[in-house]
């Protein structure tokens, strides 16, 4: 949208041309009035400053500190150890186990979040009675904290005193040891129960952004509902799918509460999620250096996964 300032801009740019010195350039000898571009840049930086300060203090400085700590060992992480912690990480069966467990968890929650979220979005995108209530009900678990969800499901799944087995008993069905026989799958299902409402909302927004005219054109060309889904809906939802996939992978790799609240990593480390594992390395084994190295490795893995996903997603982007 053109503004008054923009219209006057060419007349207020004495710093352009051979004397241009970047966004903060002033007049000759740096003493003249600021150019419009420089004023804009300065305003932008001033507005960005609080956020940058916040990120620096709460993200970048701690990340730098974690990298620094990862090069040290001992209870206080004060003995320089070079890359020793990183070497140990690749040789540690417990770290490997937790990484594999976390990958499986991430695959399960990511695929599940996309399939369930899209399915639910398609369902609530139709004209249904009480649609708003249905959407709200599906979103409520996402608004609940992991701690509450964890405690809730622990009580539901308790093999002796839980509601689920009690119901099975009522119907003369065999009871199940949910957290013993398939603990990781159970955690995936609980996580999907919690996050599917959120992914549904994202897909719903994506669905409502697809112009109706494409469907009408396809319909006139004789495309059936299945063809319309595969040829129009799914390709045009690619940006949403990419976003959901990236966010689900990141949150899957960073999952902690499920193991911390529900299973404590058990039975026998079968749900020892990576972040839960590195938390225990730090606060149970008091090995902050090694724990920091595990954190840095996770950061790298997340960055690589995200970059790969973004690249793959961009290649498949479709425009009509």
């Amino acid at each position: 949208m053109p503004s008054k300032t923009t219209e006057r801009a060419p007349a207020e740019r004495p710093g352009r041309g051979p004397h241009r010195r970047g966004p903060f350039a002033r007049g000759p000898f740096g003493r003249g009035p600021l150019t419009l571009r420089a004023r804009r840049a300065r305003t932008a930086y001033l507005f960005l400053a609080p956020a940058l300060l916040f990120f620096a203090v709460f993200y970048y400085v701690p990340i730098a500190d974690v990298v620094h700590t990862s090069l040290h060992t001992g209870p206080r992480a004060d003995e320089f150890d070079g890359l020793g912690n990183y070497v140990d990480a690749f040789d540690d069966p417990a770290a490997r186990n937790s990484f594999v467990v976390t990958l499986l968890f991430t695959v399960g929650t990511t695929v599940g979040a996309i399939v369930l979220g899209l399915g639910l979005a398609l369902l609530v995108n139709r004209p249904l009675r009480g649609r708003a209530l249905f959407r709200l009900a599906l979103l409520v678990p996402y608004l609940t904290s992991v701690a509450v969800v964890g405690l809730l499901w622990r009580n539901i799944l308790d093999p002796q005193l839980g509601i689920l087995n009690r119901m099975l008993r009522e119907f003369d069905l065999p009871t199940q040891q949910w957290l013993n026989t398939a603990p990781l799958t159970t955690l995936v299902v609980i996580t999907l129960w919690q996050i599917s409402g959120y992914t549904m909302i994202l897909f719903l927004a994506g669905l409502q952004g697809i112009p109706e005219v494409y469907y009408e054109a396809a319909y006139l060309d004789g495309a059936g509902s299945r063809q319309r889904f595969w040829r129009i809906t799914l390709p045009l939802l690619a940006p949403t799918t990419l976003f959901v996939a990236v966010m689900a992978v990141i949150s899957g790799l960073q999952a902690f509460g499920q193991a911390y609240i529900i299973t404590n990593g058990g039975p026998a480390d079968s749900t020892d999620l990576y972040v839960f594992h590195l938390f225990n390395v730090a606060f149970r084994s008091r090995d902050f250096g090694y724990s920091s190295a595990l954190s840095v490795l996770l950061l790298i893995v997340i960055m690589v996964f995200t970059a790969l996903q973004m690249r793959a997603g961009r290649r498949r982007e479709v425009r009509y």
């Binding site: 003493r31 400053a49 609080p50 209870p75 002796q160 013993n180 039975p267 026998a268 902050f288």
Partner: protein, 443 residues
């Protein structure tokens, strides 16, 4: 930020200051907002006002277990506050949260003045130099407070490191057999006294969805059986881990068999706490559990009509059970160590101990406590007091490896849960544990 010039005011001061623009006001407001979270960083950190060291006005910061906020301790703290003119700030935590907190405090150097710990931390943190040695203070005050003569020897040993005392035992507990008297009466059986009887009695008591015994998902509850078979976590002299092997394998297999072979116990469910068996006993879904006095109050509260019995643990090669309990220590960098020491003395008097037992049923480490009427006249407390005479610390010796956490929790949980919950072959799981443990100790 030293620069104060606005976009309208060059920093050479050649112009008169212009009133702040809307943009600048917004930018400053944004900056101020960003500093708010920084101000919150110190929230909850140990706070000290006024004089430090030995006394004067100020705040004495104490980390305490959330379940041990007893009236007798509150009374002792109130008297302490009145006499010294200080405020005691009792910050209550569950053990895992307290550990996270205290380790963070050690790293920052901003520590509380006194910490209650669940057993093992005193030696572990003494090893890393984070705990104050109490030896000088005990040399001065020990005789008056009856230390060490009036404390159970195990309680004294439990808080020693390289010949010096670093902590004082606050509670001393042990695990015994808690059982539902009515269920035993109906099945016409008596509490088991041997492992064979555990199986036999368990079978008599198991009917439908009620089990004779309930094993705990928490690995530490495996130790009574291991101790009864003469197993120790670590022997510093021979450097043997979980030895003797045959006895350890047999004790682990016995527990797995209770679940899978004899089917007298439900499969324990993985989780974050150790209250599963207590809930089953309260709900009359199991007839007996191995547990300590910490489960008495929840059982009485949730099932006031339940006829609760307490029996000594079964024997195998010998009678033994887990010695547990809490200690208090003063961090090396505490700002008020002398005040903290005075508070320790008040919290561990025989009078306070007796009052806590009377109101809460908690067990205590003083020898003279065992002869108090409150112990002698209560059958439950008396039974636990008897248990204390043969209870043992299974981790003794392991604290000094510097790998106590991994050996007793992480790796051992893997072994116990693998065998009891997932039916892993015992020998294979055992060998894996020992191999990983040895590697850890070697560093």
């Amino acid at each position: 930020m030293s620069r104060t010039g606005s976009p309208h005011t060059p920093h050479d001061g050649s112009r008169a200051p212009a009133p702040p623009s809307r943009r600048r006001v917004l930018a400053l407001a944004g900056g101020a907002a960003a500093t708010l979270p920084l101000g919150g960083c110190g929230a909850g950190a140990p706070e000290v006002r006024g004089g430090g060291g030995g006394g004067g006005a100020g705040t004495v910061s104490v980390y305490w277990n959330a379940g041990h906020d007893y009236a007798a301790y509150r009374a002792a703290v109130a008297a302490f506050e009145k006499e010294h003119g200080v405020t005691v700030r009792m910050q209550k935590y569950q053990w895992p949260d307290m550990r996270t907190r205290i380790l963070t405090d050690f790293a920052s150097g901003n520590v509380p003045d006194l910490v209650e710990e669940p057993g093992g931390w005193t030696q572990e943190f003494a090893l890393s130099g984070d705990v104050l040695s109490l030896q000088d203070r005990l040399d001065a005050d020990g005789a008056r407070m009856g230390y060490p003569d009036d404390w159970q020897p195990a309680a004294v040993r439990h808080n020693e490191h390289r010949g010096e005392t670093y902590g004082i035992q606050l509670h001393q507990t042990c695990s015994l057999l808690l059982y539902n008297k009515a269920m035993f009466r109906r099945a016409r059986v008596a509490p088991p006294t041997t492992w064979e009887e555990v199986v036999r009695v368990g079978r008599r008591l198991t009917t439908g969805d009620v089990f004779g015994i309930a094993l705990n998902q928490d690995q530490s509850y495996a130790w009574p059986w291991l101790l009864q078979n003469g197993v120790r976590l670590y022997d510093p002299e021979s450097r043997a881990l979980l030895a003797p092997r045959a006895a350890a394998v047999e004790a682990l297999r016995f527990q797995a068999d209770l679940v899978h072979e004899h089917e007298v116990s439900a499969v324990p469910t993985p989780g974050t706490d150790y209250s599963g068996p207590q809930k089953l006993l309260s709900a009359e879904r199991t007839a007996m559990i191995l547990s300590g006095p910490w489960d008495l109050e929840p059982i009485r509260k949730s099932s006031p009509d339940l006829e609760l019995g307490v029996a000594q643990v079964p024997r195998r090669r010998r009678r033994s059970t887990v010695l547990a309990g809490t200690s208090v220590f003063i961090p090396a960098k505490a700002r008020h160590p002398d005040l903290a020491w005075d508070l320790v003395k008040r919290l561990t008097t025989l009078r306070t101990e007796t009052a806590v037992t009377e109101k809460e049923g908690m067990l205590m480490p003083r020898r003279s406590w065992t002869s108090q009427p409150v112990v002698r006249d209560d059958p439950v407390t008396k039974a636990f007091a008897e248990g204390l005479t043969y209870a043992e610390d299974p981790y003794r010796g392991a604290y000094l490896t510097g790998r106590y956490g991994e050996l007793s929790v992480d790796l051992f949980r893997n072994l116990y849960q693998g065998v009891v919950m997932q039916r892993r072959p015992v020998e294979e799981a055992y060998d894996e544990y020992v191999s990983a443990g040895r590697k850890l100790i070697r560093g």
